[in-house]
């Protein structure tokens, strides 16, 4: 954990400088000793993490390791039992800051009875988009996730991949500064996964900070930095190259196994 300090902010990402950071140099996400427990069960233990603006940060770990709880803690849906979390310069929980955050939950939180457009209209209204601007944003995100031709179908008729894409469209509707994506590509076929990744990289190019969880190793490789999470602890943070070098492993997968062993010893 000691080398986290040096590794922080090392992302060599030119997009950071171009990003509309509102003149602030505050990090997008700053966790200081955050813990989360339910009764005697501890999900997250003393987690410290800084994500800079414009970074594409991946949280990698097996299921049940606390990735989703960490994402919820960052949004403020869950409160930290100890420590603190700061999101875009605001201490969470904070309702207003959510207007700048795009969130995609692990489960597709869509209304199956409504059409794709109706779902988008609903969420657009919640984010305060109205009139021509709402219309324009809906067209834009529908085109982005390639759902324009399916917009009038009820979501119940969508395939799993289409639902995932619509969820991503909802997260992008209000042009958030920060995207929190919980397993954005789970259950999506390889071709579509490629197109979603192309989109994520394009968004990062525009200066949008992206934090996503995954348990797919080759996805982790595409992030600027990754945090390895295991049993509610961050066992390592760094760029994929740094992690491979540090562990002498050839792949992230091996590095993860080496680092996991280290914590158990």
């Amino acid at each position: 954990m000691a080398d986290n300090e040096q590794q922080r902010g090392q992302a060599s990402n030119a997009a950071v400088d171009e990003a509309p950071v509102n003149g602030l140099k505050l990090p997008a996400i700053d966790l200081k000793g955050a813990s989360r427990s339910y009764g005697s069960r501890t999900i997250l233990k003393d987690l410290s993490l800084t994500v800079e603006r414009g970074e594409l940060f991946g949280l990698l770990g097996p299921s049940g390791s606390g990735k989703t709880t960490l994402i919820k803690l960052i949004t403020g849906l869950e409160a930290a039992s100890a420590g603190e979390a700061t999101l875009l310069g605001k201490r969470v929980p904070n309702r207003q800051v959510l207007a700048k955050v795009g969130y995609m939950a692990q489960a597709d939180a869509l209304y199956n009875e409504l059409t794709g457009t109706q779902n988008l209209e609903f969420f657009a209204a919640l984010y305060g988009l109205s009139g021509a601007r709402r219309q324009e944003r809906i067209e834009s995100v529908l085109a982005l996730v390639d759902l324009t031709e399916h917009r009038s179908k009820p979501v119940s008729a969508y395939s799993g991949g289409m639902k995932r894409r619509l969820s991503l469209a909802v997260a992008l509707l209000h042009e958030p500064e920060l995207l929190l994506l919980d397993e954005p590509t789970v259950g999506i076929d390889p071709a579509l996964r490629q197109s979603i990744w192309a989109e994520l990289l394009a968004l990062r190019g525009r200066g949008i900070t992206i934090v996503l969880t995954t348990h797919v190793m080759d996805e982790a490789d595409r992030c600027d930095r990754i945090g390895l999470i295991r049993d509610g602890r961050l066992i390592a943070i760094g760029s994929p190259d740094e992690l491979r070098t540090a562990t002498g492993a050839a792949t992230i997968e091996e590095a993860f196994i080496v680092l996991g062993r280290g914590t158990e010893a």
Binding site: G76, L77, A79, Q96, A99, D108, A109, Y111, N112, L126
Partner: protein, 348 residues
């Protein structure tokens, strides 16, 4: 082998669900206990008021088991009759005995009439001469209705209120539960929406359904089923709407404590059925007075009381205002509790 495995799985599955077990074993006991108290209480004598009655008749009525109270003026008795404190007033009109029945409960009116007829039966005793001074013909009049009220007319208003309450409760409960289980509520909470907005949005959305349903039920029962209706239709609608609002807020509140649609159903015997018993479908006069007080915490009791007052006794807005205010109070209370319960979804 497979059957055993299946049975074991089911036992394990539900053995941990305490609420389902409670439903299975305790809810029937609860309902049976309530029915016991409703149907097995001491039988009641109709409350009669006597105004200037000949002594022999008073004595005979009391002997027949009537609960007879003497009033000095007929107006005073009339006022109590209007408020439903009395079943009937017995008075003299010339040489005839007259009875004015409250009339909104056919069973009660019937038993009061029966008592009077018993008391007026000429007998062979010495008193017979005195009684012959009065005609044996009884003059009958009704405060409410005209004596043609059927049992359905009497408890129909209660059913109108009950069905509004029950179905809105289920609809709102299941819908809000869905929102929780499909994750859309969590997704809502990740937008800058206020908790108040979520609760109010639900109230507004389902409020529309509640208004439609209240209108439909009231129209159907009055115009199609020919339910006795002597009051303002608008007042019936207003009462039904307020009752639906209570059901709506209560349904969403309880769904926060349910994990599945099945667990919503489990609230029916616990929350809905007891209210039916206390709503006026059954005459509670026979019930233990201590238990009767339970009706004060049951929204359906106030709704049914208001509906009966309007439909059977053509009560005015002012007359049902206390009932309506209490219904509004219940809605406000459940709404506030909803706001608190939403705290489960988001830390703020």
């Amino acid at each position: 082998m497979r059957i055993r495995a299946l049975a074991l799985r089911i036992l394990r599955q539900f053995g941990k669900d305490r609420r389902t077990l409670a439903l299975l074993f305790l809810a029937p006991l609860l309902v049976l206990t309530l029915m016991y108290f409703v149907f097995n209480g001491q039988s009641t004598a109709p409350k009669l008021a006597g105004v200037g009655l000949p002594e022999f008749l008073g004595a005979k009525l009391t002997a027949a088991g009537a609960d007879l109270v003497s009033y000095s003026s007929k107006d005073e008795a009339e006022a109590d009759l209007k408020e439903g404190k009395l079943s009937a007033i017995v008075f003299t009109e010339g040489n005839r005995i007259a009875v004015r029945l409250e009339g909104s409960d056919p069973a009660e009116a019937k038993s009061a009439l029966l008592l009077l007829q018993q008391a007026m039966q000429p007998d062979e005793s010495a008193e017979a001469t005195t009684s012959s001074a009065f005609s044996s013909q009884l003059l009958v009049s009704y405060e409410y209705g005209d004596g043609t009220l059927t049992s359905f007319d009497s408890f129909g208003p209660v059913l109108v209120g009950f069905f509004s309450f029950f179905f809105v409760f289920l609809l709102a409960g299941v819908a809000f539960l869905r929102e929780q289980t499909t994750g859309t509520l969590e997704r809502l909470m990740a937008t800058p929406i206020r908790r108040f907005e979520v609760a109010a949005g639900y109230l507004a959305g389902f409020g529309v359904f509640a208004i439609l349903q209240a209108t439909l039920i009231a129209t159907y029962s009055i115009h199609v089923l020919g339910l006795y209706m002597d009051g303002s239709f608008w007042l019936v609608l207003l009462t039904n709407l307020l009752l639906s609002l209570v059901a709506l807020t209560l349904g969403t509140l309880l769904s926060s404590f349910a994990g599945s649609e099945f667990q919503i159903i489990q609230f029916i015997p616990v929350v809905i059925v007891p209210q039916v018993f206390f709503s006026g479908l059954f005459n509670l006069d026979a019930m233990n007075p201590w238990l009767q007080k339970l009706s004060y915490v049951m929204p359906l009791y106030y709704g049914a009381d208001a509906l009966r007052s309007v439909m059977l006794r053509s009560a005015s807005f002012a007359g049902v205002l206390p009932d309506l205010s209490i219904l509004l109070g219940f809605s406000a209370l459940f709404f506030l509790l909803n706001l608190l319960a939403l705290g489960k979804q988001r830390a703020f």
